[in-house]
Subunit: 198 residues, 2 copies
DNA sequence: TATTAGTAAATGCACGTTCATTTACTAATG
DNA sequence: CATTAGTAAATGAACGTGCATTTACTAATA
């Protein structure tokens, strides 16, 4: 026997939480703020997720899923592997609109890093992205976009630190747009391995 | 004229605050925690810094000073410019001992980024480091360690994102030590510009 | 003794959480 | 078909806690 149907889906609540984090930062992520965003009351969120921490765990779990689908989509595109790589980097930041938004999301990520269970999820996201990047780099080698002697594993690490560094420095100096900065840094890292046109 | 002398200096309190941030993260940075660390009582800190935010501002101001002196020291060393650059990067992280510690400090930095006044300080630190890096890069060109045609301004940006990225990815995957990771990333960025031995 | 540093207790606020109650729906039953 | 029982979702008003801040007081110097 079904009871009263849910007014808002879990996914809507989690999206709202992401929104709140971007606007208010981790300290502003209160159950009241999230509940307000979706037209519920704080206690309801506790009942549905068990606790505030339960909501955070659900949020982290969703991030892992998202990272996976992002990977899928990037591979399905019919662009060149390197173009797909740049797109992947930019789209993985779809929640970020301003430097402050990025700073808030980053602060939240850091908060996760101090909690064992949440760190597991954050690491999973990071590794999923790493695998996606390396797959695209390999494809780029196969497609002749990168030199044959490219160490794709090492280059993957460089690309990831470039992406992370671009975001953080952008949050600090606030120059230009994030997509610009990401593309710049990625291209700089890739440059030595780009295959010259024959 | 002067009344009762202060039992603990401001600098000691600020150092304690840094310590607490590293251990507990921004959320754990309470006046009680800091006061406890130095053997005072929360109310005293409010009286001395005006408010909790006052303490944060003082902390940010001290970071700006520190960044400057770090620059000075790096230039005074009798090492090669590139060696000094690597040392500068490592020593600018002297408060960081574990990935978690770094994550906590980073989260605190991000917190600052959402406050206009604190962001000013954080930006000043970032720019001071940028100037130090560029000075060392220029010196490296003069000393023949880097190629003459090196675009030191552009390379400065790359080095800064490499440093930032190395820290963040290290906090995520927790592989190796931070100094190792920093040196690795910096060397990768510098590699294309290193002058071959004659 | 005048002045400043420090304390201890009190205040007020924001937050997560709990719980009795109400609402909205489904599934039996006559 | 109309009615009733059953159930899950949501509410709103508590409650307790942890925190920054205030206030009245004490301690230590010059």
């Amino acid at each position: 026997m079904a009871g009263r149907p849910r007014g808002v889906d879990d996914s809507v609540i989690l999206r709202a939480a992401v929104e709140v984090i971007g606007r208010m930062g981790p300290a502003g992520l209160t159950l009241a703020a999230v509940a307000d965003e979706v037209g519920l009351v704080p206690g309801t969120l506790v009942q549905r997720f068990g606790s505030k921490r339960g909501l955070l765990v659900a949020l982290a779990a969703r991030s892992v899923q998202d990272a996976g689908t992002l990977h899928e989509r990037a591979r399905e595109r019919h662009e060149s592997p390197l173009a797909a790589l740049r797109t992947l980097a930019v789209e993985s930041m779809s929640d970020v609109s301003t430097p402050r938004t990025y700073a808030n999301h980053l602060a939240f990520l850091c908060m996760d890093l101090t909690d064992p269970e949440l760190h597991e999820h954050a690491l999973a996201v990071h590794q999923a992205r790493g695998r996606a990047i390396e797959a695209l780099l390999r494809a780029a080698v196969s497609a002749g976009e990168l030199r044959d002697d490219t160490d794709t594993a090492a280059l993957t690490g460089s690309v990831q630190t470039a992406i992370a560094g671009a975001g953080l420095t952008w949050a600090l100096d606030r120059r230009g747009t994030l997509p610009e900065r990401l593309r710049e840094e990625i291209d700089t890292v890739l440059a030595p391995h780009i295959r010259r046109r024959t």
